[in-house]
């Protein structure tokens, strides 16, 4: 188990380095950062001056190593637009995003897994149909539309919940539902499919032949095996929620990291965008790593491979 974890950890670090390099290079392909920074009215000399000031005239590899070395120590430079250290800018926004992401994935898992299990126990029953309807609806409805509907109903008509902002737990209820409902269908379907397959397997018959009660058969024998692919999917969804909740953050005016990313791209705020890409990728890498470890714990066959 320990060698497995170390191997995965090594792999995660390599992926992180690759991602950091790609994100660094990609931004240079997007255009001359010095020209963008100088603005449309700047003269050639102005651009050259900015190029030297920010070190864009050095070889790219030198710039990358320099940037990476600072980044590892938590220094992502200064935002061109906000004139503030990028690290503190992100840290400030990240708490909102992380709260939303954790709530979102928790909501998704708490609705999707029980619903998927219930649907698999009685395929084609009422509960299976309801689960199918909810998942199709969840996949078909755009987040922004669902979010606006919720605001109209619960904030404007009923007045139960605040429509925007992030100042109290109540502010997070609607964003959580919108974000979680977006991830729910895939998790539900994977749980249902996994449970259906596992429940028809020989070892479930063995468990029943031993006289194990139905609850024990379902949750101890079946769910542990069926949940393995769900763990991997949930990790990816979690990464997505932390990095890609731009739409939801915009609708509910939650000024999180996703919103910051959108602002920074629009303003060509290079250091912020680079740092955010790196942070978002790190989330993916960390959650994938955690999912691998969790799966190895669930499925002993993975530890030896």
């Amino acid at each position: 188990m320990l060698t497995f974890i170390l191997k995965r950890l090594g792999l995660a670090v390599l992926v992180a380095l690759t991602v950091s390099f790609i994100s660094f290079v990609l931004l240079f392909l997007a255009g001359d950062p010095a020209a963008a920074l100088a603005g449309e009215t700047a003269s050639g000399e102005d651009i050259e001056a900015i190029r030297r000031l920010y070190g864009f005239d050095r070889p790219m590899l030198v710039q990358y190593v320099d940037w990476l070395y600072s980044a590892v120590r938590g220094d992502f430079g200064e935002s061109y637009y906000f004139r503030l250290p990028v690290a503190s800018l992100i840290a400030e926004r990240l708490s909102v995003t992380m709260t939303l992401g954790v709530c979102g994935i928790t909501f998704a898992l708490l609705t999707a897994v029980p619903l998927g299990v219930a649907a698999a126990i009685r395929p084609n029953s009422i509960i299976d149909r309801v689960a199918l309807f909810l998942s199709v609806a969840g996949q078909a409805m755009p987040s922004f539309w669902f979010g606006l509907i919720l605001i109209v109903v619960f904030a404007i008509q009923l007045g139960w919940l605040p429509p925007s902002g992030a100042s109290s737990p109540a502010h997070f209820i609607m964003p959580t539902i919108v974000l979680g409902y977006y991830a729910m269908p895939a998790i539900m379907r994977l749980t249902r499919a996994g449970m259906l397959e596992v429940l028809s397997s020989d070892y479930i018959r063995t468990a029943r032949a031993k006289g194990a009660p139905e609850g024990r058969v379902l949750f101890r024998h079946a769910l542990r095996n069926a949940i393995i692919p769900v763990v991997s999917l949930a990790a990816v969804q979690m990464g997505f929620m932390l990095g890609g909740s731009i739409v939801v953050e915009s609708i509910f005016a939650l000024h999180g990291a996703g919103y910051l990313a959108w602002e920074s791209i629009a303003r060509n705020d290079l250091p912020t965008v680079q740092a955010l890409i790196l942070v978002f990728s790190m989330f993916y890498i960390v959650f994938t790593f955690l999912a691998d470890v969790l799966n190895a714990w669930l499925d002993p066959r993975m530890r030896s491979s």
């Binding site: 063995t206 468990a207 095996n225 499925d299 002993p300 066959r301």
Partner: protein
């Protein structure tokens, strides 16, 4: 003799399929005493496995089971509720399946899976259960039994897994063990070993055993009673000597001709086969299911088939002697 441990009368299993009902098992009768071994033989699809699952109450939800009588030591298995059946399963009746590679849960250790039934059915602690598991693993011939408890199924070979399955079935010292082709998935070299082991352990613990197989060589060695199954019916039942010594039903004789016997079958001579295929059992099945392949078939075979024979040796055929006189001496 005492009352039989297991008594089955007119067991019938119907499976609804698209376009009708599959009459998979039709009117099976048999009795099994304590300590006895009953072998059910027959080709694939004859309903052997369904019969065993019906006894365990493990048929699929859409499969219909009915019987005039299905009595296990005073418990009526037809009317027994889920709770009662759970108490029997694994505790007093256990089952060994034919797929050792997939019948163990990949997520749990051998020790967890071995002790599960014992912890569910008997009031024993974890330590005692583990000790029992080690004892049984040794009994089924697994070396380093103690260290196996922390291993996972994927770390064991097929033969070892089947030994684990056997040990698992024996944990609660059941009165009846149902082994559904326990050696089919194994190498030929291990098959005989495993069967011998199962048989010896059964004797040692005085367990009744239903052994489902299509290996007649095995049957000849271990069976007290034999039930020959064809297309969902028991065409012939009796003691091993009776069925092997004087096979009455044409199908039984056909089966016996299909196996070569050292010393008896001449080298180079053609092995017997039963021409034709098993009939479809969808829709109404009338008369003898074997008539389409039987060399002695008569128009009367379409009608109700009488049960013949004396004592425990019974068969179903329109011919009073199963048309034995019309054939050469069986191989």
């Amino acid at each position: 003799m005492d009352k039989p441990l297991l008594s089955v009368r007119n067991l019938t299993i119907d499976i609804p399929v698209g376009g009708g009902t599959l009459h998979a098992v039709r009117g099976i009768d048999f009795d099994l005493n304590r300590g006895e071994t009953l072998c059910i033989v027959g080709e694939s699809g004859s309903g052997k496995s369904l019969t065993s699952l019906a006894l365990m109450g493990l048929l699929g939800k859409n499969i219909r089971r009915s019987a005039d009588r299905m009595d296990f030591d005073g418990t009526d298995l037809i009317t027994a509720g889920p709770r009662k059946m759970r108490a029997l399963r694994g505790g007093r009746i256990s089952m060994i399946f034919q797929e050792p590679m997939t019948s163990l849960n990949p997520a749990y250790t051998i020790g967890d899976q071995l002790t599960e039934a014992l912890l569910l059915h008997r009031k024993v602690g974890r330590e005692a259960a583990r000790a029992r598991a080690v004892e049984l693993l040794e009994k089924v011939g697994i070396t380093a039994a103690e260290s196996r408890l922390s291993q996972y199924p994927h770390q064991l070979s097929g033969g070892l897994r089947q030994r684990v399955m056997i040990a698992m079935a024996l944990m609660c010292e059941p009165e009846l063990i149902i082994a559904d082709e326990p050696t089919t998935a194994l190498d030929v070299t291990i098959q005989a070993q495993i069967l011998r082991l199962l048989y010896d352990l059964g004797r040692e613990m005085n367990m009744a055993m239903i052994l489902i197989t299509h290996d007649l060589g095995v049957v000849a060695r271990v069976a007290d009673k034999v039930a020959v199954m064809y297309a969902g019916e028991l065409v012939e039942t009796g003691s091993a000597q009776e069925v092997f010594g004087a096979p009455a039903h044409p199908y039984t004789r056909g089966l016996l001709r299909c196996i070569p016997l050292p010393g008896k079958t001449e080298r180079g001579s053609e092995l017997g086969t039963i021409p034709g295929i098993v009939p479809s059992l969808i829709g109404d099945v009338e008369g003898c299911a074997f008539r389409t392949r039987c060399p002695h078939a008569l128009p009367e075979c379409r009608a109700e088939i009488p049960r013949r024979g004396a004592g425990e040796h019974l068969f179903r055929c329109v011919h009073p002697d199963g048309a034995v006189s019309a054939e050469d001496v069986p191989a």
